[in-house]
């Protein structure tokens, strides 16, 4: 029981750190340099779309990793 929860804790840490590293890669050059001013989707700039998609992806991924830590409003006053 204890073992298991500490394992999931470590798994969670590993996942969070990988998310950070992936984000670091996608939010930096040279990845950003791929999109020039001529890259468009319809008329919307490619860079705009790219950053928005990565950003939302990051939000969803963190939500997924942290979904069981609800931090619901606690009724009990702190000691």
């Amino acid at each position: 029981m204890n073992n298991r929860s500490s394992r999931t804790q470590n798994d969670r840490k590993g996942r969070l750190i990988s998310l950070f590293l992936i984000g670091l890669l996608f939010f930096n050059f040279p990845m950003l340099g791929i999109f020039g001013k001529e890259d468009k989707w319809g008329s919307i700039p490619g860079l705009f779309i790219y950053i928005a998609v990565v950003w939302i992806g990051l939000v969803l991924a963190v939500y997924w990793v942290m979904r069981d830590i609800s931090g619901r409003p606690d009724k009990t006053p702190p000691p």
């Binding site: 969070l16 340099g33 919307i44 950053i51 931090g71 606690d74 006053p77």
Partner: protein, 910 residues
């Protein structure tokens, strides 16, 4: 727009804030908290988005396209790591009652006063321009609104101060901060009203931004597609999307992200809301994705609004920082413009309020109080209730901070954009990152290392970023900036050591953080830590280990009179609060304080942590030192520490070598260490003995039972022999277990041991009778020399019987079969009764006579062969006798036997 409406709207908005804060405070006192949930927590963190976000992002986007983004990408990227880093910081801060980012720093490095002062200077110098720029933007946006953006009015900075809206904003914000930020002293009790108001402001500014964004994108244009379609027709806008053309390099991008990543935790307002006001670490779980989502939403319309502004507002009138207000106004949407101004107002006020409260806590806890305490007159002349005085200091510092910020905006800040000043502040607080983040994971980081690193970083920051701004307003000659001091070009503030090709922020961040980190690491490697530093470092790095324990242990044991401690608490926290604290202490630890005269170390630590909440860790340490004496470490205490952490021992051994700094304590420490080493060795011996003692019987039991199982046809004699061995070896194990359990029993002081009159001569007789058979087998004589009249002592029957059984069996072990004589007797006396157990065995070497009563000690003697007991009997006996206020000792001449004496107090039969 009519200025009257604007003023009414502002008053209405501020009134609403007061109401919300007041209501939340009311709810908190009723125990039905409004703010204890992850959503409010995440929203309060959005205080990160200031007027810089609200106006400045659009302004920057109009000049540099996506160049405004790294400031938001950094925090969004950092959010996944909060669960690891921020959670650790919160746990430590709750444990140590930490009140600010500077307090955290000071506390980590041995509660250092000077580090706290240095840190506060860095923060105050770094943040005041940032606060001032908020005031400026708010004032500027009012003025813009009243002139409907068309006719440029007089520049706000040039208005006489009594006509300047900036001044009134500053006063109103000071009032709000004082009212909701300095109501009570222990920030651990938190300011729920403040948090509720900030969360509301975060919602408000987001709604305002989104409303303007939707109006521009979907009202003035037919959606994103249409807006961008139109924008492409202007080459000027089109080229904004080419990162190379707008001059953003990968270096700049990366360093801005890094700075903002640090800022989102280390800025005083962020630290205050994320750590000090946090109510549960579980809230991080949701904040880690809600906060990046918030940043995403507030940024989605920045580019469209910037592009629309460039297309719709004639360049002559264009003030990109005010597109948010101007776009609605110029299209006849006065109320939307007002909403935008209110949104900007909410973004600015949130930042200013929390920042000034944070700064005032640092100034009072880490500068004013420690310095006051160092001047002895104040220490002696304490007035009745210092808690009121402390709140006064905080209120005064809030007022001063806002006044200075206002002055800065009036005289210096005029030609700086929102973004550039904000980044200068980011770079300032980033100087805390090396000492804090390294200190969180590396115990060896020292106070001196942190001081050197922070000073270097701060100096470089000052030289490369702040100095040029001062030069530009003619505080000093511009030539220094352009040619370097004394014409030395490699000292130029914007190209230090000849490093060129970066923008000034990247340049400054690179050099300051490089030297800062280098300073922390290298200096730490070559300096040593004081005792308090070691224990604090251990606590910070290993906080998860300390979570379970009730109280933390200290290497230093302190004593003080209870009266002094109570007096201190009364003075700093006020009597009602001090009273309830002491009550909760005595409840939690089950100690009746009214019966105590001296405060034990636990209580002193408890008082110190609570004082730290009110006045900061360094001040609390100073005050406690004024009343508490530090005990040398007792042997038993050291032993406890030995069991708890091998780490500290390692450190204290290292310390022993670095005696230069510890001339006074070296001697004591060395002695303690000797004892420690001895204990260490004894413990290892004991464990080896016990395991050997256990393994031997288990080995034969295991092997024999397997043989019996696999060979059912064994001859009966052999089977009986084997079974006999099994029985006797099992008995051996249970004997050993009993002995270890006895140790456990006496090691834990048992309160239920009664003290009652015991008839000692009867008890000795009874103890001796159990040995009759054994004595006959071994042909050893046992002579009882007891008086006829009953002799009464105070004690209780079972433990005392155990003592005499132990002593007699001990004597038997050392006697030779056939020749042994053991005498057991009693000498009654007026003030003590002495019993003795004497043998004529091999005796005990003088050097062993002291140590044999220790735990785990066996006198190993080659002639005797293996020791036959577990080495616990005498230790247990000593513990028992001392419990009854008696004494046990041995007298012996080697070769001529040994006599054990037990002295107990006489009693009258009841």
């Amino acid at each position: 727009m009519n200025p009257l409406y604007i003023i009414l709207a502002l008053i209405g908005y501020v009134g609403l804030l007061f109401l919300i804060a007041f209501y939340a405070d009311q709810r908190a006192t009723r125990g039905a908290s409004l703010v204890r949930n992850p959503l409010i927590y995440a929203l309060s963190l959005a205080v990160y988005c200031t007027v810089w976000t609200f106006y400045g992002s659009v302004g920057r986007a109009a000049e540099a396209g996506v160049g405004f983004l790294p400031i938001y990408l950094g925090p969004a990227l950092f959010a996944p790591l909060w669960w690891i880093v921020l959670r650790k910081i919160i746990l430590i801060s709750k444990n140590q009652r930490i009140t600010s980012v500077v307090d955290f720093l000071s506390s980590r490095y041995g509660k250092s006063t000077w580090l706290g002062v240095l840190g506060t200077v860095v923060v105050v110098v770094g943040i005041i321009p940032y606060i001032s720029i908020q005031l400026k933007a708010i004032a500027f946006s009012f003025q813009h609104l009243t002139h409907s953006g068309r006719v440029p009015g007089p520049v706000v900075e040039d208005l006489p101060f009594f006509l300047d809206p900036g001044l009134y904003v500053a006063v109103a914000l000071a009032l709000f901060s004082i009212l909701f930020g300095t109501r009570n002293l222990d920030p651990n009790e938190r300011h729920e009203g403040l948090v509720a108001a900030i969360a509301f402001e975060s919602i408000f500014k987001l709604v305002a931004f989104l409303t303007v964004g939707i109006f521009v994108t979907f009202g003035l244009y037919k959606g994103f597609g249409d807006l961008f379609q139109q924008a492409w027709k202007l080459e000027e806008i089109h080229s904004l999307l080419d990162l190379k053309q707008v001059g953003i390099t990968s270096m700049d991008w990366f360093w801005l992200m890094l700075l903002s990543l640090f800022a989102v935790l280390l800025l005083p307002r962020q630290f205050h809301l994320a750590v000090v006001e946090n109510t549960s670490t579980d809230h991080i779980g949701r904040a880690a994705w809600i906060f990046p989502l918030y940043l995403f939403l507030i940024n989605i319309f920045v580019l469209p609004i910037a592009f629309a502004g460039k297309m719709l507002i004639p360049p002559a009138l264009a003030e990109p920082d005010m597109f948010m207000v101007d776009l609605p106004l110029m299209n006849g949407q006065g109320y939307l413009g007002l909403l935008a101004v209110l949104g900007g107002f909410s973004a600015g006020t949130g930042m200013v309020i929390v920042s000034t409260i944070g700064l005032s806590i640092m100034i009072s806890n880490n500068v004013v109080v420690p310095l006051l305490l160092r001047t002895s007159t104040v220490r002696e002349g304490w007035v009745d209730d210092l808690s009121k005085r402390l709140l006064g200091i905080r209120r005064l510092s809030i007022a001063i901070v806002l006044l200075v910020a206002y002055a800065y905006f009036k005289w210096i800040g005029r030609q700086y954009t929102l973004v550039s000043v904000g980044l200068i502040s980011f770079a300032a607080v980033a100087q805390f990152a090396p000492a804090i983040f390294i200190g969180l994971y590396w115990k060896r980081a020292t106070r001196i290392g942190a001081m050197v690193g922070l000073s270097l970083g701060f100096l470089i920051w000052f030289y490369t970023l702040l100095l040029p701004t001062l030069a530009e307003v003619h505080f000093m000659g511009v030539h220094i900036v352009e040619n370097g001091p004394w014409g030395i070009s490699w000292l130029r503030p914007d190209a230090l050591f000849g490093l060129k090709g970066m923008n000034n922020i990247t340049h400054a961040a690179f050099w300051s953080l490089l030297l800062n980190t280098g300073g922390v690491v290298l200096v730490s490697l070559y300096t040593s830590q004081r005792t308090l530093e070691i224990s604090q470092a251990d606590l910070f790095v290993e906080i998860y280990k300390y979570q379970t324990g009730v109280s933390d242990y200290d290497v230093i044991r302190r004593r003080a009179s209870l009266q002094d401690v109570t007096l201190l608490l009364n003075r700093f926290l006020g009597e009602p609060r001090a009273g309830s604290l002491l009550q909760s202490y005595s409840r939690r630890y089950g100690k009746d304080l009214s019966k105590e005269k001296m405060a034990d170390p636990d209580l002193i630590n408890f008082a110190e942590t609570h004082l730290a909440g009110a006045i900061g860790a360094a001040s609390a340490k100073l005050i406690m030192r004024s009343i508490a004496k530090e005990d040398p470490i007792s042997l038993e205490e050291m032993f406890r520490i030995l069991e708890q952490t091998q780490e500290i021992i390692r450190y204290s051994r290292e310390l022993e070598h670095k005696s230069a700094e510890l001339v006074q304590t070296t001697h004591q420490l060395r002695q303690a260490n000797e004892r420690l080493k001895e204990l260490d060795r004894l413990k290892a011996d004991f464990i080896t003995t016990v395991t050997h003692e256990l393994r031997t019987p288990i080995t034969s039991i295991k092997a024999l039972s397997k043989i019996l199982q696999e060979n059912p046809g064994l001859p009966p004699e052999q089977r009986d022999e084997f079974l006999g061995i099994l029985v006797s070896e099992s008995e051996r194990i249970s004997r050993l277990i009993n002995q270890v359990l006895d140790l456990e029993k006496t090691a834990v002081d048992r309160a239920e041991w009664k003290v009652e009159p015991v008839e000692l001569n009867k008890l000795i007789q009874h103890s001796a009778s159990g040995f009759r058979q054994y004595l006959e087998e071994k042909q050893i004589q046992l002579r009882l020399e007891l008086p006829d009249a009953p002799v009464w002592v105070s004690g209780s029957e079972d433990p005392l019987t155990q003592v005499f059984v132990n002593l007699i069996s001990n004597a038997l072990k050392f006697c030779d079969a056939g020749k042994g004589i053991i005498r057991v007797g009693l000498e009654p006396g007026e003030d003590r009764v002495v019993a003795y157990v004497a043998d004529n065995g091999i005796g005990i070497d003088p050097k062993d006579q002291q140590t044999i009563f220790g735990q785990f000690v066996q006198v190993s003697n080659n002639e005797l062969g293996k020791p036959t007991g577990s080495g616990l009997g005498l230790y247990i006996s000593k513990r028992i006798i001392e419990r009854y206020g008696g004494r046990i000792w041995v007298e012996s001449e080697p070769g001529r036997g040994a006599t054990f004496f037990v002295a107990l107090s006489p009693a009258t039969p009841g």
